[in-house]
Symmetry: C2
Subunit: 209 residues, 2 copies
DNA sequence: TTCATATCTGAGCGCTGTACAGATATCTTG
DNA sequence: CAAGATATCTGTACAGCGCTCAGATATGAA
């Protein structure tokens, strides 16, 4: 309470508690990691009572869904930028690298995103519906690089294969077992590129992360 | 208490509480899913007080580590069998399919395995040390299929790439988004094979799951 | 100005992981 | 076989969790 910001749209008491809660959650997530992300801690961080969030989210999972959605949006944006900055034949790898780098730079957020997905056994709906989504960007880039858009099934399988490889690498690139390889190859980026190159769907690229 | 089984090795009061706790955990995991796997529930299932587990495990994470270790052992065995039952050129895909099928058939256990890995930011040590581990089986199979064992780095990168793709597919194969593809391709197995084939490192195989 | 409604608080329930003192069973030593 | 050391297990307790609900409070509509 107290610090009611002078925003023009202040629907009710707090201003926009829903927004404030999601922001508080992301702050906590970055500072303390996923295990510290309790509903009560988020409420505390936002300066409200433990019961307040329940007027904006049905339960904890729904709050985390909102946090995860922001993660997907950021991922979409970063991949769009990566694709824009790469030339044609290197765009697919640029997308792959951007994906893995997003996970590396936002490990807690990435985990929240996939914890929600695993619980629901599905990715967010608009991953396949929104044409600007990371998923659709990969699909469209495959078409641009010569895949036959008419063979819908083949195209989708290739997209899924690339997505799976990128997700696996995103989750495991930070594992201690692979540190010696990063040193040997002269850096993390070289390691990521080398692994993606072995996947076959990707080709070598020259774009900083 | 009470039902002291007539085992020859009964070190102390319970018999082998450590063993009983891990078994209870796996029973709970299968019956109720990962979210029901509380230390207290495990103790309850094993018929002991909530504090009893602390004489065998430092904390909850250490109990889950023991559960996860059993998962890795089972995975090793199943992949060994899959490799044995496949002819040379199809062994790598057979390993990949076996990996994904293990995750499909033991989703809760697979999740415990990788939750622990993500927390520690590493796979279990013997994944790379034990020559019979799933990881080493993949590596050795790549050698058998023509990879140059002298080029250690290249070999390791290819193994990691295959592992990442398999892990990504293992986590996402059950997602609702891909159900229509499974139908279209005539079954889950066809879908899994098709995706792995797109990864490039794998080739088509003919082995039931 | 009055009233309905959306928002937030405070207290409370049953659950969790973990700590600790005390009881009990087993192993070891004489 | 007796006695003390030690490992094992119980009971109780504490703080924190997700979530519920009755009641207080601020807002928008009449």
């Amino acid at each position: 309470m107290s610090e009611a910001k002078t925003v023009e749209s202040r629907p009710y008491h707090h201003g926009d508690l829903r927004r404030a809660l999601v922001d508080a959650a992301r702050r906590l997530l970055e500072a303390e990691g996923p295990s510290a992300l309790s509903l009560r801690a988020v409420a505390r961080e936002a300066g409200v009572s433990p019961a307040a969030p329940y007027h904006h989210f049905k339960d904890k999972a729904e709050l985390l869904d909102a946090v995860a959605q922001e993660g997907w949006d950021i991922l979409d944006t970063q991949m769009m930028e990566a694709k824009r900055d790469a030339d044609g034949p290197h765009q697919l790898t640029a997308l792959g690298i951007a994906y893995v780098c997003f996970a590396r730079d936002n490990p807690a957020l990435y985990r929240v995103m996939y914890d929600a997905a695993r619980d629901k056994e599905m990715l967010p709906d608009d991953v396949q519906k929104n044409e600007d989504s990371a998923y659709c960007q990969v699909r469209n880039t495959m078409i641009a690089q010569g895949a036959n858009p008419a063979n819908e099934t083949h195209l989708e399988l290739a997209t899924i294969a690339a997505w799976c490889a990128a997700h696996g690498l995103a989750e495991m690139a930070g594992f201690k077992q692979f540190e010696h390889l990063k040193e040997e190859l002269g850096g993390e980026r070289q390691f990521l590129e080398a692994v993606l190159e072995h996947v076959g769907l990707f080709t070598s690229a020259h774009r900083e992360c």
